[in-house]
């Protein structure tokens, strides 16, 4: 095989793959699922990976939606994000701020169930 043939292969490859690449980027933009699979919380204390699917799935820990989304109406499946009510710095005495809401909900249940992380470093990753 001579160089000009090789060159042709390279040109053809570059053009075809460029088209395929551009098409797959534009046509198949990643869509987020209706119900989160996993969530990554980011804050000053590092990242927290939360496996939403495993916590809810029956094959997982099968916790019902309203145990966490505590304002959820019966049958509703599109809850609001916690942060919409629990602000980062809450003025209200009865209203826990965002990180307290997370901490008390997540850690309390883990403590009660005797399963799941309670120590800081087993949730937070710097």
């Amino acid at each position: 095989m001579k160089s000009n043939k090789e060159l042709q292969i390279a040109y053809v490859l570059a053009i075809i793959l460029l088209v395929v690449g551009v098409l797959s980027y534009s046509a198949f933009s990643a869509k987020t699922p209706d119900q989160p699979v996993r969530l990554m919380f980011k804050c000053v204390a590092g990242k927290v990976l939360f496996d939403h699917k495993t916590h809810t799935a029956e094959s997982g820990y099968s916790i019902s939606c309203s145990d966490c989304h505590h304002n959820l109406e019966e049958g509703e499946t599109k809850p609001q994000a916690c942060g919409e009510c629990h602000e980062a710095k809450s003025q209200d005495e009865d209203m826990p701020n965002r990180s307290d809401a997370f901490h008390s909900q997540c850690i309390d249940c883990h403590k009660e169930g005797g399963a799941g992380p309670e120590k800081c470093a087993s949730c937070h990753v710097m």
Partner: protein, 319 residues
Amino acid sequence: MVDNNRFIVSHAPFRHDGSRISTRNYNIALAALPAILLGIIYYGMPAVGVISLSISSAIIWEFIFCRATKSSITIGDGNAAIIGMILGMLLPATAPWWFVIIGTFVAVIIGKQIYGGIGANPFNPVVVAIAVLMISWKDIFDFNEALINYDFDFAMVYPLSALKHFGVSAVDSFSMGDLLMGKQSGGIGSTFGLGLIAGGIYLIIRGIIRWEIAFSFLAGIFITALLFNMTDSARYAGPVIHLFAGYTLIGAFFLATEDSSSPVNFIPMLIYGAGTGFLTVLIRNIGVYVDGVIFAILIMNLVNPLLDKIRPKAIGRVA
């Protein structure tokens, strides 16, 4: 010049046996195919997008560089395509398009062309690019975060980051069979262990990569991981996870073995491979980075010229 059939050297006329750089690179592409295909099966069109864009943009960068420097167009040798392909294999399927294009720019232009092109690069171009990307955009390389919306029938926590952050007990659930079959989170083409091993063996048989490097790299990882594990098995995982998770296997067969940045003699190859393996586990176990393969290869690329000084003495004397 490469198209000449005849070269007059010192005494006899020699014939070119017809072997070409492009043939080597086509073979490398073939060897990588199983691993890439499984990545595409798992991650779908986004993975196709990353790999395609990575290969094509690498070729285009080299083309632009050759044009700009008014030198002959070298993209026919397939090296740029291979650089793009391997780079794409290391990326998460969700890598944005600009990220891929910056990656191939760093690999082809900064990693290879400015040193004089193929064969003149002191570092593996792909590894240089990944190192730059990893340091600059940490979050895109955080496989846990990047692949957050993918849902499979296996645990999608990145094994090495689970190991680093949550300790040995967090990786108990990964079995060797699952890791080999690609049932783990990671780069598009770097998780299918069996496919990578098959590709590597093919390349070794074809004489395209050196078994000495691949083998000593894996042996270095195995022994170092085992030693760590024996000193404190509660803190340091055994060799299985180190051998079959992260970039280990793609590193052994597609990264560490890159021609111009690795040694050529027997003893130096063994030192190079074993050193890379040793550093990899060192970085994973006590360094700050989740995976050490990339930085270990860079460091060993750096000492490569030194290793190449260990060589047989020439017979006789030069006057």
